[in-house]
Subunit: 334 residues, 2 copies
DNA sequence: CCTGAGGCTTAAAGCGCTTTAACACTGTGT
DNA sequence: ACACAGTGTTAAAGCGCTTTAAGCCTCAGG
């Protein structure tokens, strides 16, 4: 039953109160002008009639839409979480987030077009796979913020957490516990993998140590594979820093099935601090990327551009935070 | 750089070609009328100028928006996957999906309002938590389809997979393998849990058997807890059917850490067939809910209402499909 | 040669809201 | 009394597109 009760228009409210539509519009948007009396009567009538502004008409008339476009990869928990935080952050600043899913049949480009058709005023891209050139092109068209990806700002802003520092805190923690033989299972060709690799090596060098890097990937399967490789090797390292939490989960799973005790035999560190890592039976030491803060900064950066407060691109780099849980401990005595 | 190059308007294309905006509009929407010559010239000019219709204006003028609203719980992989499938299905029928996230600060009601403000013509609700009354209220306002939830259609349509049948296929499979002592770790007070419980018991009864039900929940933690309970009990069942895949993963994790072999000592079945279940080292036998098909049916149901082809509510029930993998096998010899 | 039909095209009236310039009024200072 | 600054309010002009009725041709038939 499509209760086809026509929704009330501004005009209906105006007629009810006995003022012009201009006054009603002014009151409803909280613009100064109308008297307290008018204000009150308009608000009462609007509430009584259940009036809700027609967004399409409103957008058409005013030049602003107050819509921020966010392409989202629903299969990726980290990106989904960030999208959620973006919506919260945008809401707090009076903006609405329009989400559109990147799927096998809707690539990033296509989703951005859809979002622009909806008249989003800015695009917030969460760890996009686009090339720097493609990003620059987008940035030239519409205010754009790239989130959680290390890329040179070029007509667009960047907000990210320092992956190298994040890995370094993990290294420091492990070395502090006495570990000397560390392995990093990397994220393959994922965008952030390079920084994590260099961060790993650089941190070890600072301690006068060297370390091994094992090719990995960003999903459980890759961690599992890496674990098997390690188990087949001559000697297990005393600690492993995984590319991310999913990778770490796969790693843990295979270790445990093989009878390797964590952290007694080997310590494991993840990355992302996903919900999964916090579960009692996983209890994974990991690195938190401050998603909420990244989201707030990203929305802030977009609004600065929209408000014309800034035109130069910025690169906002946050410091990740190590969360120590139960999968790390002193190395086994040799 | 907000390359503030004003986007071309219909009028610009019309001027370029030397015809009226009406003709251009007609051509661009593929409406019969304009001659082949006009058609061609308009299309050429539109492409050359990079014209894209302003959706807000277009929506305002025509009464339709071709927008379907989907509230999505980003933290829930099953719902996210369904949202993705909905977008694909809608796209195939010429509609666009507007997604909005349900977050701690945006409850389902609020998200629906946002979506309606964007002028979505229908709402597709994925396993909503709303009460039947609340759903009926929504359905009275706007064409609504409830997906993946067993609820009496009441002014809205329902598309779902039969949870009881799904569990029954799992039971049949296990009993066929020789199992006689089955346990179901349920989904607590999640909406689908009840059907899975009754399906479990009914299927066993058909085989002349009885079974135990353990209180659970829909996340890994609940499965882990249930596993500990079972390990502490007098005797392990030979097979466990979990509330869903996440629950099963938690269960498996604890079993494996305790040295229980799967499936040699105990068989485990999940529900949902999430990506995780397919991983080589998990290889979980589980029940697939045909998300893509549910999505197609849901979009179809919504469009039927929008096109006025149907006003009576429907309840479309699909049959889930058991996917046999490596966590199920014959029971241990006693 | 006139009429009517049929094919194209377009003028113009919205869609529901925002915004600006102009128009009352009041009261204040001179 | 008179100009002058507020204060409140509104008429009216869009925003960019769709849609309908009317107009203009051309051509076949009478």
């Amino acid at each position: 039953m499509t209760g086809a009760v026509k929704r009330p228009r501004l005009e209906d409210v105006a007629a009810d109160v006995g003022v012009s539509t201009a006054s009603v519009s002014l009151v409803l948007r909280g613009v100064a002008g109308p008297s307290a009396g008018t204000r009150e009567r308009v608000l009462e009538a609007a509430a009584r009639l259940g009036y809700r502004a027609d967004r399409a008409a409103s957008l058409l008339a005013r030049r602003r839409t107050h819509l921020l476009g966010v392409p989202v990869v629903l299969r990726d928990a980290y990106r989904s979480e960030l999208a959620e935080e973006l919506q919260v952050a945008a809401d707090g600043r009076g903006y609405t987030v329009a989400l559109s899913a990147v799927t096998p049949v809707h690539d990033e480009q296509r989703v951005m077009e859809t979002l622009l058709d909806l008249r989003c005023e800015a695009l917030l891209l969460i760890a996009p796979d686009l090339s720097p050139d493609a990003l620059a092109e987008v940035g030239a068209r519409v205010p754009t913020v790239v989130i959680s990806r290390h890329v040179e700002p070029d007509g667009f802003d960047v907000v990210r957490a320092a992956d190298d520092e994040g890995v370094a805190t993990a290294v420091d923690h492990l070395v502090g516990l006495g570990h000397r033989d560390l392995v990093h299972v990397d994220g393959g060709d994922a965008p952030m993998a390079a920084d994590r690799r260099t961060g790993f090596l650089a941190a070890l060098h600072r301690h006068g140590l060297d370390g091994r890097i094992l090719p990995g990937g960003h999903v459980e399967e890759a961690g599992a594979r890496a674990a098997r490789t390690l188990l087949d090797g001559p000697e297990l390292p005393t600690a492993v820093i995984a590319a991310n939490d999913r990778n770490a989960i796969g790693l843990l799973d295979v270790f445990i099935r093989a009878g390797v005790r964590v952290p007694q035999d080997v310590s494991v560190v993840g990355y992302d601090d996903r919900e999964l890592a916090r579960l009692a039976h996983i209890d994974l030491t990991t690195v938190n990327q401050e998603a909420a803060e990244q989201a707030r900064r990203a929305v802030g950066a977009a609004l600065e551009r929209l408000d014309g407060e800034r035109t130069d691109p910025v690169d906002i780099v946050l410091t990740p935070r190590l969360v120590v849980r139960g999968t790390t401990g002193p190395p086994p005595a040799r």
